[in-house]
């Protein structure tokens, strides 16, 4: 990794076109297909059930739940063998106390060969509040970072960093839409962490760009960005590797509940690393940032 001089800048155009295309596809997916909201945001009930009898199979379980009159029921395997997740739109309401009834009716139907490991039931009011506060959280953190970057850097840099972050959020969400990936509360946390990580990565390169702009007055920004990317490349790669190692460990060993969360973050780290190089930097080039840009700011 020593003494690298990879001509990243040669590919700015090509990758920008690719990114624009991906953003476009993501937006189309988000608008027409939408996201697959989980119980947290759509309302409804989720039951994680463990079967204690190996002979019980998924179609038996599906049949039993369909007989319970709960509306649209989905039954899926979850994590280990014999673990299932059952989801339906009916919500908890105290009078019916239907979770208890489900247990009773299920026992009558298939016998006492199961246990409920987890029950989540969210009413329509709460789910719309959770969705709202999730969107607010993401918008607010983008805003706060914009302000921070604005204070620390010149506006051209802020625009570059924020564009990179928007790029990451849109493409990650587009991926979720494409994969029909379930969006719940922890995914909001993952997206926010991605925002932080992507920003972090961009800031490291930008710091170097500024430093190099001061150092070399006769080199164009097109070259400066390339030099800076190369100089920070080993750090970029090493940090991505250690972060991905940690995330992969959660993804593989952290149990079924953290699967979606860690997957979202793995995706985000990859997209975020890419965008720090191929979105943030070309914007500096487009905006024709030069030594004057930073010196003017500093003398003010």
């Amino acid at each position: 990794m020593e003494n690298k001089n990879i001509p990243f800048n040669k590919f700015y155009k090509r990758f920008n076109i690719l990114s624009l295309l991906l953003i476009l596809i993501s937006l189309i997916l988000l608008i027409f297909k939408g996201l697959n909201y989980g119980v947290d945001f759509k309302g409804g009930t989720l039951i994680e059930l463990r079967s204690l009898d190996k002979s019980l199979n998924i179609s038996d379980l599906r049949k039993s739940f369909n007989n319970l009159n709960l509306g649209d029921v989905t039954v899926k395997k979850f994590g280990k063998e014999n673990d299932y997740v059952i989801k339906f739109e009916k919500k908890q309401s105290i009078e019916e106390n239907f979770i208890e009834n489900i247990k009773i009716e299920l026992t009558n139907d298939i016998g006492k060969i199961f246990e409920f490991r987890r029950v989540e039931s969210v009413g329509p009011k709460v789910s719309s509040e959770l969705l709202k506060s999730g969107i607010i959280a993401i918008a607010l953190s983008l805003g706060a970072m914009l302000i921070y970057i604005w204070i620390r850097f010149e506006w051209q840099f802020s625009l570059g960093a924020i564009s990179a972050v928007f790029h990451d959020v849109i493409i990650t969400l587009g991926f979720f839409s494409l994969l029909n990936f379930e969006i719940n509360l922890s995914i909001v946390a993952a997206v926010l962490t991605i925002v932080g990580y992507s920003m972090n990565d961009t800031v490291v390169i930008f710091d170097r760009v500024r430093e190099n702009l001061k150092k070399y007055s006769d080199i164009k920004i097109y070259e400066i960005t390339n030099i800076s990317i190369n100089e920070t490349l080993s750090r970029t790669i090493i940090t991505s590797i250690t972060t991905l190692l940690a995330l992969l460990s959660i993804f593989i060993f952290g149990g079924a509940i953290l699967k979606g969360f860690s997957f979202a973050m793995i995706l985000g780290v990859i997209v975020g690393t890419y965008s720090s190089i191929y979105i943030a930097n070309p914007i500096l080039v487009k905006l024709n940032v030069s030594q004057k840009t930073i010196i003017k700011e500093e003398s003010e």
Partner: protein, 521 residues
């Protein structure tokens, strides 16, 4: 940057050991109160139930409006004014009709800042009720509706009452360390750690437990002052609306086995007022049937055989021992001011919690080992320094969480693992910078020094961005996600400390000792 005074070294070490001690205190039993601080496990790790209840205040509003209506009527009567056609409309307004002559007088009585009947709250610049008048033909229609703040007051009052009742009911069941909190002005959050099956508690919390004793009438049809109520099995009886006795007068209730009938009953004791009322009613009503009504359903309607004078009695009904115990519990803890609904429930069984802890710890260990091996492979001795820093960082992180007795959730564990992955970033930034500096600087110590100095702003900038995300998530997130934000945020702070004090100290010691080595990093 590489110079440390002795005092600084000692204080860094003392601070680190002190914080780390709290990490260890999680695994060791001490009697010392100061050191006995542990991380709490979230409901998703220790198992338990999270219930969010919403109070349905609409019956309270109607009740209060009815009371207000009669007091307004009397108030104006005393003043010699006679508005008429009082009624409650849309279930949220009092409406009455006024003639033009007395309109101004009535409006000023209602809108005056000193108004007795419609109190004014100077702090919020609003009355309890908003008054509106509309002209209908020759008369004027006046409506009173709860103002925004009036409604807030009403909701807060009923929330205050409800939380007290909820607390009593939960305490009666005897779960360990329940957490009962207000949310907004019409919600109550109940957290029940370690509770495997919340069905019973949900049943109990959902009952208003409004108990009344009322006479059964002989009528076949509903008429004024009576209403049709049904038994649990659906059969119906006409009941007088007049309440002989309500649950408020009960001072104790217990399930009991009736020796004569061999049935489970609920026996109760009345306070002095209640005992008097009960004695009077049962004396005059011998031979009649007295219905015992809970939340609009008749439990039973026994014949009064003889006057009950002692202020004690029993409720018969089709009870199992469990249902009698529950009814007694509800009666002892009192009635809710309004019905409540569970609008959010999250229950995790204890074995799933344990599985999550195991999976969390396993992935922490594996993630940690992978990162440590990678750093050694990449940076050799400096990788080892980064790893020592990482271990210290973990001790500090868990120590700080223990010190504040924070709640650890499953996403919180993920936050710790992510911290492991991202914490080495600062050291990587520094080492990479030093490598660059060493190319142009012959004096190794100076090269290290400027490596530290030049990377500082970058490291701060980079970490502050993640810290911003964590802080916002902590403020806006709920439950488990908050736990993630907490570990991530605290992790950044401990990372910065350990990198700038522990790692720098170790680097300094090593570099000063080996400054003549050909290839230092």
């Amino acid at each position: 940057m590489l110079y440390f005074s002795k005092l600084k070294i000692i204080s860094v070490l003392i601070f680190t050991f002190l914080i780390s001690f709290f990490t260890i205190s999680n695994f060791v039993n001490t009697d010392n109160k100061f050191f006995k601080r542990n991380i709490n496990l979230g409901l998703d790790l220790q198992g338990g139930s999270y219930l969010l209840l919403e109070i349905d205040n609409s019956p309270v509003v109607i009740q209060k409006l009815q009371n207000k209506l009669s007091s307004i009527k009397n108030f104006f009567k005393d003043k010699g004014l006679k508005p008429n056609n009082f009624k409650i409309i849309d279930n949220n307004k009092i409406s009455f009709v006024v003639d033009e002559v007395s309109l101004d007088n009535i409006l000023s009585l209602l809108n005056d800042k000193e108004s007795e009947i419609n109190p004014y709250f100077p702090r919020f610049k609003t009355h309890e009720f908003d008054v509106k008048e509309t002209k209908v033909l020759s008369s004027i229609n006046v409506t009173l509706q709860y103002s925004e703040y009036g409604l807030v007051l009403l909701k807060s009052a009923s929330q205050e009452q409800a939380i007290e009742i909820v607390r009593r009911r939960v305490d009666e069941i005897g779960t360990n360390e329940p957490n009962i909190l207000k949310r907004g002005n019409d919600r109550i959050l109940v957290e029940l750690p370690g509770l495997d099956n919340p069905d019973r508690i949900k049943n109990l919390l959902g009952r208003t437990a409004n108990l009344t004793f009322r006479f059964v009438t002989q009528n076949e049809e509903e008429s004024f002052g009576t209403e049709r109520l049904s038994y649990e099995d659906g059969s119906e009886v006409i009941i007088s609306k007049r309440i002989i006795l309500s649950g408020d007068n009960l001072i104790d209730a217990q399930p009991r086995m009736d020796n004569q009938s061999n049935q489970t009953v609920v026996s109760f004791n009345l306070d002095r007022v209640g005992a008097k009322k009960f004695a009077r009613a049962t004396s005059s009503g011998v031979g009649k049937r007295l219905a015992i009504i809970l939340d609009g359903k008749i439990i039973s309607a026994p014949n009064i055989v003889e006057p009950i004078l002692g202020g004690a009695g029993q409720i018969t009904g089709d009870f199992t021992f469990q249902s009698a115990t529950d009814l007694a519990l509800l009666l002892r803890s009192g009635a809710l001011p309004a019905p409540m609904n569970i609008i959010e429930e999250r229950t995790v069984g204890p074995d799933l919690g344990q599985d999550s802890i195991n999976a969390g710890i396993l992935s922490l260990i594996i993630g940690f080992v992978l990162v440590v091996l990678f750093m050694i492979a990449k940076y050799k001795i400096f990788g080892a320094i980064a790893n020592v820093t990482l271990i210290t960082n973990l001790f500090l992180l868990i120590g700080v969480l223990s010190l504040f007795e924070a709640t650890l959730t499953l996403p919180g564990i993920a936050g710790i693992i992510l911290t492991v992955g991202m914490a080495v970033d600062a050291n990587v930034l520094i080492y990479e910078r030093i490598k660059e500096e060493i190319k142009s600087e012959n004096n190794k110590i100076l090269a290290f020094d400027s490596g530290y100095i030049k990377s500082k702003t970058t490291i701060l900038d980079a970490n502050i961005t993640t810290l911003i995300a964590a802080m916002i998530l902590f403020i806006l997130g709920s439950g488990p996600v908050k736990g993630f934000a907490l570990t991530l945020g605290v992790g950044i702070l401990t990372t910065l400390f350990s990198v700038y004090y522990i790692a720098r100290l170790l680097t300094a010691l090593y570099v000063i000792k080996n400054k003549h080595k050909e290839k230092l990093i």
